[in-house]
Amino acid sequence: MSLSRRDFLKYAGSTGAGVAVGTAALDLKPVQAAATTLKLKEAKVHSGVCPYCAVGCIQLVYSKGDKIIDIEGHPDTPHTLGRLCPKGAATIQLSNNPLRPTKAMYRAPGSDKWEEKPLDWMYEQIAKRYYDAREKYFVEKEKNKDGQDVVVNRLDAIASLGSACIDNEECYLLSKLNRTLGIVYHEHQARV
């Protein structure tokens, strides 16, 4: 037996007034305990961080094989006490979602559709675009305000945006890549 969200709502709502009122009228502990023990039996648990706002709610991510089966708040978290908001509680649907693209795709100039492409082909093409733009538009030296030549090693033709949604380590790698290539249009959501 497993309890789906709708079953749960039906059960909790049987007092006729939905979850919010139902909480006061009904002892939910047995329901929650049953949901936890049945669903999560034999699952592996991992430490997660909620990917939505910046409160940083720690999550317990339960998996079986290569499938996430449940995500809930970590009750020991000092600044959240285990709670999640509606977005945090929906985190599992970022992974388990039929609308999620799992293939790399290319759209040719003027085309009205995507074409699936191998990842290797994509990387090769993207690297070539970076290389060509850098070769063509790179500026090594420029006059300063006093008319003297200054080494600027700058690339204005490529811009990079994002992201406050990626990890610290990823942000660092992107900074390292962009800056050492000469990229200066280098921004993310904190600016807006």
Partner: protein, 827 residues
Amino acid sequence: MTTNLIDIQNSDVIMATSNFAENHPVGFQWVMKAKERGAKFIHVDPRFTRTSAVADVHVPLRSGTNIAFFGGLISYAIQNDLYFKDYVVHYTNASFLIDPAFKTATDGGGLFTGLEQTGKGGVDPHVATTYKKDTWKYQLDGEGNPKRDLTLRDPNSVFQLMKRHYSRYTPEMVERVCGIPKEKFVQVAKLFCENSGPEKTGSITYALNLTQHTNGVQNIRALCMLQTLLGNIGRPGGGVVALRGHANVQGATDLELLYHELPGYLPMPLRDAHPDLKTWLDKETPKGGFWVNRPKFMVSLLKAWFEDRATAENEYGYQWLPKRASADAYSHQHMFVDMYKGIIKGFLSDGQNPAVGGPNAKLARAALGKLEWLVVKDIFLTETAEFWKAPGISAKDIKTEVFFLPAAPAAEKDGSLTNTMRLIQWHEKAVNPPGDVTSDAEFFVSLAKRLQKLYAGSKKDRDQGFLATKWEYGDNPKEPNMELVLKEVNGYATQEITDKDGKVVYKKGQALNSFAHMTDDGKTAGGCWIYTGVTVEGPDGKLINKANLRKPADDKDYLAHGWGFAWPANRRILYNRASADLQGKPWSEKKKLIWWDPEAPGQEPEKKGKWVGLDVPDFNAFLAPDAKNGDKPFIMRADLVAAFFGPLNDGPFPEHYEPVESPTKNLLSKQQMNPVAKIWNVPDQKNDLVPLGSPDYPYVVTTYRLTEHHLSGVMSRYLPMLAELFHSHFAEISNELAAELGIKNGERVTVVTPRGKVHVTAMVTHRLKPFMIDGKKTHQIGIPWHWGYNGISKGDITNDLSATVGDPTVYIQETKAFLCNVKKGEV
């Protein structure tokens, strides 16, 4: 954030200026906890929300008038002697004397001394101007130290200038400008000021409500000045609570995905100011304060990137960094204007959706169509990835090549995120991502390696920096080891480091324990000095990842120092030396945090005395209160004191100006708008603005967010659970405005500005009320911005309404206050 969410429970008064309960619901529990303990809660917001519903007082204020409100509070605290005198005299620059030639906006018709015209601006009647700051400085004594008057009576003291500057910000003026009835303002001022002082503390929370304005930075300064005046910084229950909107907007800022800096808040070189490393170090290293260490952090960063190729002889590779042509360039808004003009050819949009989420989104989408190529990496197909499918667009006319790479969410990869209280927390990979989905790290490393192959053998000097960078993180090329990346960020010894007795302190390659161990001679490398200490070597030689520590709070450690790692140095409340008085004793027993223990073992065996308490001292732990600078808590400032007088591009004190688009003339001075606001001149009528007094666009509009959706909607509109909870786009319209326009609740309406229009459902509500501004009824509407043309729940793009205008210091847009019209039906 200077403080910690947990610590909000210790506040005696909390003033939320954003919709805390709905936008950061889980953090909001600490406000409720404080209320249970007797705290008063004030909510300042144009709209009545679920935050207002639990407030002791809700204060609706017209969008765009925050400085008038904070200025009123500053003035009230000064005029009624409610500020924290000892704190202000000793821990701030209130006593410092300013150049007598400087005049505040009170004596300058709304302008400070030094405004100069620099050429004609983009938009009539705005003329480009800039401030010459040569009088915005301290008077110095014979030894070059600022002159001070500890009585605060000198007319040129910062305190007296501040008092004079804000003397115009009376309760009557606040009523006229903000639309807050005078009695309500006085009630709030009393409540907030009387709950601050030696025995009590108050906190103020903010989010984008204060930042998205053409005086966004000054809004934050005004808030900080009020908190400093009341002695609310560095103390339990005090602080500035910055509520950030993305899981890693703090971390992405620290690691500096921003045009103007390098990781760890190091200024990005400018062509004219910083031709070489020596000049950069000379100009960017102040004479006092903790930033005297900046050369160590810069050289360590260069070593982290260019490794063995970074040497003293080649300025540690400094010349391989790009130099900016100007400080007024490359920001988000500059980027899309320049993209539209064809300057930018290729674009990577990684985990960001500017086609919906940025200002003037119609301009952004038009700009994407001018690109040669676009790469998007995201979890779902964003409107940016599919801009060529936007309604009304003919795909065959769009020549941009688009590459879409599916991305893995946090649960499918290892890595750390830094939350709004500077807390770095690790997440573990729970499952492999499906299909061709990879982490962003995998993409960056793969791209870098392929590019290095293309550049292999290049003899050009300009390529040598990039070729020097290393991209091997562990043995699995398909999955770079994020703990090794974190170690590079943390910093390590590039060679064996010994102490003066020859004892090995660090082996070659060993992770650094503290940024205090960084050097400017190439012996240490480190990608972001403020993160040092997040990962250290354990006794068994293995890395300890402190971001993954999970020791809960307990009675002895309410701030939970064993849970994750907060930068810098695991300090949970910044500037906490200010929680103690000059002699190092807590200002009050109730508000103690750290204090000087003269009997504690000192730094050396024969010495005694140490800062101890409930937090890691944000101070030299062994610097006695009576030692030189032992009584100066604001260690990041060159003069070690908090700054009321702090020169920004638009003035040393925040001054109220109207938003670029405003329903009223400025009632405070004859200067209508921020004289140095950034207004872009965009071709093809892509950025037309509403002139003052226009009958065509009479209503104020503010944009905002909902609990059930996330920002531009990529991570919520595709999720059935969330799309179901809030399924369609709407605008909140007051009963009064709806009656005037004949609009019923649930009807379709059109919201229009010179930039664009949206069709949405009218939510006619009591939660918004018209403001009385100088006796005139002024309507304001509210509209969320989560929708776009993709996903399960679709809707028009709110940012098609907003304009390309910006704050003069950081160039953030003004999406919290601009003008619109509302029309019945879809027109």
